[in-house]
Symmetry: C2
Subunit: 201 residues, 2 copies
């Protein structure tokens, strides 16, 4: 038996997740009208869709900028998608601008952990190894790698928690935001590169 | 005997050069009302002033951006001056924006020739040496260095001819523009860095 879902609830879920109207209706029906459960279900599907899309080429997109603090901080960003059609949508452009704003606020140094230079990782690891001398040997490597991973997450855009989610119970990472955009737009969305300038630094 | 200079002519020279009202009046008096000669005289003085200022610290300034071709080209630029007061002036901000626009149009790769990596210069030189095999030996080095200098000038922002001067008889380089801004604003103006993104490149 199919539950009857009010249009208002469908719209609410759509606004929240950015998913299509029919997907929202179906998810709500399956979840018996529970918006939290429906959101989770859509996100799970989104992840599944995003994984399928990851292999497709993303050569279109948008270059955007964000200037902050009266010209004392500036960000230039390139985000790619697969078609010019999606690049021109408000949803895609809003995503790009939100990420630019996030970069100006949280000042990451790299897009992903894969972009961090080997010698930087090595010198950071050496610091944590030195700090870990008092830790019992069997637990030492784990402590060092944990600290290193935490540090890398703090300087890599995709691993950072989205600045506007800071007061949420479960803040999304930028990578989660990207996966949601990929699911919602139906194209592989990738954050290709950014530049961050701070005045006099 | 001092020539009487119409206020209109003083204003014209001021608009053209950006120099102070009194400096314009004096230059016109000395040039007997010849606006071209007065301009040259101001530029010469400007150059002299700029040289004196080159040693002073430039840690203030502005970060600006320019997005072109519907988000397919983007520029982020930092230009420094000495005080926040000058950084906030329309003249300084217009200079910064003009240079950003120039970068989007002419796509330089470096700020100055000093920023070009040694190995890039070496590999370019090798190409010109190979091309110069048929030139008599006594003229060869000069031909190679000439070609190299021309190539470096084409990829370095400060050496490029200002895009908006392309139809002028004597197009100014960006370095000349910078020196004029330094003279006119009375502070050392330096183009610190820029990023240029082209979609998918």
């Amino acid at each position: 038996m199919s539950t009857s879902i009010p249009a208002k609830l469908v719209k609410e879920l759509r606004d929240k997740t950015g998913a299509g109207m029919m997907d929202c209706k179906k998810a709500l029906e399956e979840a018996g009208g529970d918006i939290e459960a429906a959101t989770t279900s859509l996100r799970t599907k989104g992840l599944a869709d995003a994984a399928k899309r990851a292999g497709r080429a993303a050569n279109e997109g948008v270059i955007d900028s964000y200037i902050h603090a009266g010209g004392r901080v500036g960000v230039l960003i390139e985000v790619n998608c697969e078609t010019d059609f999606v690049a021109r949508t408000e949803e895609f452009q809003t995503f790009v601008h939100d990420v630019a704003l996030h970069i100006a606020a949280l000042k990451p140094r790299f897009v992903s952990t894969a972009d961090v230079p080997e010698d930087y990782v090595a010198s950071e690891r050496a610091i944590y190894v030195a700090q870990a001398e008092d830790i019992p040997e069997h637990a030492r490597e784990r402590a060092v790698e944990g600290k290193l991973a935490k540090h890398l997450a703090s300087i890599c855009l995709l691993e950072q928690e989205y600045v506007r989610d800071q007061n949420e119970k479960k803040p999304r990472t930028i990578e989660q935001l990207r996966v949601e955009a990929t699911a919602s737009l139906g194209e592989n969305v990738t954050i290709r590169r950014f530049s961050l300038f701070e005045l006099g630094q």
